[in-house]
């Protein structure tokens, strides 16, 4: 290593140094500390006492732990595939090259940058059982069949589907990623498919989807991580109890109450690690299942 190289290395490390300190203090240390606390009786206000696997054992018999897990998976199971289909559908439409495309892209992306609390308040009014915009539209449509629209947020059966519906309004981010992927599909492949007589559906299925499969995979993984950690919107709309009748008590909501209301930070840390392991397992599973379908040809 020459003197200049050594000086460059020193400068480089100096520039990165602050970031490394930040990473160590604000990320690595808290993560490792939470792993230790997950084996402790820890209330934040007192020093932790080692209790072995007690916190993990308690989860097995904790009814709310299982209920919150079930609620979270039900939500993720609906919101994730629907979100992927809708965002891909929108991206396909926004990639057709019709006039005013930049305007449409902006409009569909706009909800993604609406602050969470503002979005939640807005949807609370849209989904209001009595005066909501949605029921104002649905009521006359359902009336001929003798049906009434649900009370959405006030009904334990409909609260989760309402949240799924609401989550679709924030597909802008993944839509933009799909759009970037779609614009990278080589035109000659479409031309070649057209020469072979392929229709729109066949071009989509045999050209577009395989080429953008890495993007789909990326959105799938991000979706798994995102939907399993849903918190802010639900907290604003339903409070920490996951009302009505705990139908929206999601995993992170229960974790939050356990940590900051019940002051059981040890148990909450254990729950956080279980969620982390679940997300890792699901991501690995998704990677394995899609391994043969994801092409990095482009």
């Amino acid at each position: 290593m020459t003197r200049a190289e050594r000086q460059n290395l020193k400068n480089g490390l100096l520039f990165c140094g602050l970031w490394f300190v930040g990473l160590a203090v604000f990320t690595v240390y808290p993560v490792l500390a939470s792993l230790y606390y997950s084996f402790c009786d820890y209330s934040v206000l007192q020093s932790p006492i080692w209790v072995g696997a007690e916190n993990y054992q308690r989860m097995a018999t904790d009814r709310l732990f299982w209920l919150s897990l079930k609620n979270t998976f039900l939500f993720a199971g609906l919101a994730l595939p629907l979100g992927m289909i809708v965002s891909l559908g929108l991206a396909l439409l926004l990639n057709t090259g019709v006039r005013g495309m930049p305007l449409f892209r902006t409009i569909f992306y706009l909800p993604s940058i609406v602050p969470v609390v503002a979005g939640a308040m807005l949807w609370m009014w849209i989904l209001n059982g009595q005066f909501g915009l949605l029921n104002w539209v649905l009521a006359p449509l359902l009336q001929p069949f003798g049906l009434k629209p649900p009370a959405w947020l006030a009904d334990p059966v409909w609260a989760k589907p309402a949240l799924v519906l609401m989550s679709l309004w924030g597909v802008g981010n993944s839509m933009v990623i799909y759009l970037a992927g779609l614009q990278n599909v080589p035109q000659e492949l479409y031309e070649s498919a057209e020469l072979d007589g392929a229709n729109w559906w066949r071009k989509l299925w045999h050209v577009t989807i395989p080429i953008i499969s890495p993007v789909i995979y990326f959105n799938l993984v991000m979706g798994i991580i995102g939907t399993l950690q849903v918190f802010a919107t639900v907290f604003v709309m339903f409070g920490p109890d996951g009302n009505p009748a705990r139908s929206t008590l999601f995993y992170t909501l229960y974790l939050f109450s356990t940590a900051f209301y019940d002051l059981r930070m040890g148990y909450a840390s254990a729950m956080a690690w279980v969620l982390f392991l679940l997300i890792v397992a699901l991501t690995l599973l998704a990677t394995k299942l899609t391994a043969k379908k994801v092409h990095y040809a482009s």
Partner: protein, 448 residues
């Protein structure tokens, strides 16, 4: 060169930050949950304290989610000198060794445990004690009462000056005050709804004479009054129809708005606290309303009320506990001879400006006669009632309270039979209580 400059700036900042204030007084920090009107009232009391002596300066800082921030600050070893908590979370903080007991300070003032507590209405005195010690002083207390809309009573053919006195009357009046759209059959007005405003139903079982905790064990299941309470809750939904109630209640506006269901005339009777008058004056001035004790569920349970209190505590690790005590002692005091606003002191000034009752038994002539709340005497009477209850003195109250909220919810939504919901809650809370006890014992065993 740049590094030197940066180091100089840092050094200067540190030096300035560590310098004692030039006024020779001890500055203490006070974190409180209030903003707006209630915050301004406390600021006035703080200003009065700062003006009337020359040794201590209290720096008042409104802090949202003060309980959670206090947890983090205390854990970090840098809590404020005084903090405002609620009766809801006081006992869990005490169980986690997060607060200083006030007994030594109180004794040093020449009071005994009994003489200090004897100054307070019994329900508030009880809130401040736990495990044979005194942990806080009451800053702003409250009691709750039945508020009824006199115009709606008149329109329903009821005597507007005669509120329901028993549970049977409450149910009867509620039916008379309920109206439906003759065309669609939808509810347009309801006499009473147990879930509105949804703040006090966690203690409904005690209104029925039931018991949630006997000082040693969770006693939720197996108490007939508790079951009777939740059957009554469910009876309202059964009577008016689940879909009807749900749809009608979704149209209720926010509490602090003109669309508040009581203020907008959608609900004729609600349980509300002493603060309600402030909101009525702001959002529905001219609303003709009356205030009465909670209807008695059965003879012997008259003058029931749910009492609560905002509390001042000294966190463990506070830098200036003595000065903090001087301040909270001032807030706990009053001038018994006050004949004018300017002569009001401490808790009376605060409660006068917040338009609440004083937690103390003795009221000054001005506070008693010139109080801005038209119904203040009823709230005072209720605070003295032997049937006044307050949040449970148990270190897991936050969790228990959420569980009780869920029992209420599933019963009101007819999602579960009351007996099943009670049994599930009992099992969970008994486990949680045992877990909590285990944690306390573990810590005691570690102490030298």
């Amino acid at each position: 060169m740049h590094l030197r400059l940066l180091a100089s700036i840092l050094l200067l900042a540190l030096t300035l930050g560590c310098q004692p204030r030039g006024d020779g007084k001890v500055h203490i920090t006070y974190w409180e949950k209030w903003g707006a009107r209630e915050g301004a009232a406390m600021q006035a009391a703080v200003d009065q304290f700062n003006r009337l002596q020359d040794k201590i300066v209290v720096e008042y800082l409104p802090v949202s989610q003060v309980d959670r921030k206090l947890i983090v600050a205390t854990a970090g070893g840098d809590p404020p000198d005084v903090a405002g908590l609620w009766a809801n979370n006081l006992y869990s903080f005490i169980d986690r060794d997060a607060l200083l007991p006030l007994d030594d300070f109180i004794r040093a003032e020449g009071y005994t445990h009994e003489t200090w507590l004897g100054r307070y209405s019994p329900v508030y005195a009880d809130i401040t004690t736990y495990r044979d010690k005194i942990w806080c002083v009451v800053s702003a207390p409250s009691t709750t009462a039945l508020h009824w809309n006199k115009r709606l009573f008149r329109e329903a053919g009821l005597d507007p000056d005669r509120p329901p006195r028993t549970l049977a009357e409450l149910d009867e009046f509620a039916e008379k005050l309920t109206q439906r759209d003759p065309r669609t059959g939808r509810l347009t007005q309801i006499g009473f709804l147990p879930q509105e405003p949804g703040w006090f139903h966690r203690l409904f079982p005690e209104w029925f004479g039931g018991k949630l905790f006997d000082g040693t064990n969770i006693t939720f299941a197996g108490v007939p009054e508790n079951l009777e309470c939740y059957r009554w809750v469910a009876s309202y939904t059964e009577k008016f129809g689940l879909d009807q109630v749900r749809s009608f209640a979704s149209g209720f506006g926010a509490f602090a708005s003109p669309q508040n269901p009581f203020m907008s005339g959608k609900v004729a009777m609600v349980f509300q606290g002493v603060w309600m008058n402030n909101f009525i004056r702001q959002y529905s001035p001219g609303l003709e309303y009356g205030v009465a004790p909670w209807p008695a569920v059965r003879p012997g349970l008259e003058n029931f009320t749910f009492a609560d209190a905002d509390l001042l505590v000294i966190p463990r690790g506070a830098k200036h506990p003595k000065e903090a005590w001087e301040f909270i002692k001032f807030i706990a005091g009053m001038n018994p001879a006050a004949q004018s606003y300017d002569e009001l002191r401490g808790v009376e000034l605060l409660c006068y400006l917040q338009q609440k009752n004083s937690p103390l038994k003795q009221w000054s002539p001005f506070f008693e006669q010139q109080h801005p709340h038209p119904h203040i005497n009823l709230f005072r009477k209720l605070a003295e009632s032997p049937n006044a209850v307050h949040p449970l003195k148990i270190g897991i109250w936050q969790e228990y309270s959420r569980e009780l909220g869920n029992v209420f919810d599933v019963c009101a939504l007819l999602a579960q039979r009351p007996e099943d919901a009670i049994a599930a809650c009992q099992q969970r809370m008994a486990e949680s209580w045992a877990w909590h006890q285990r944690s306390i014992n573990r810590r005691q065993a570690k102490r030298p």
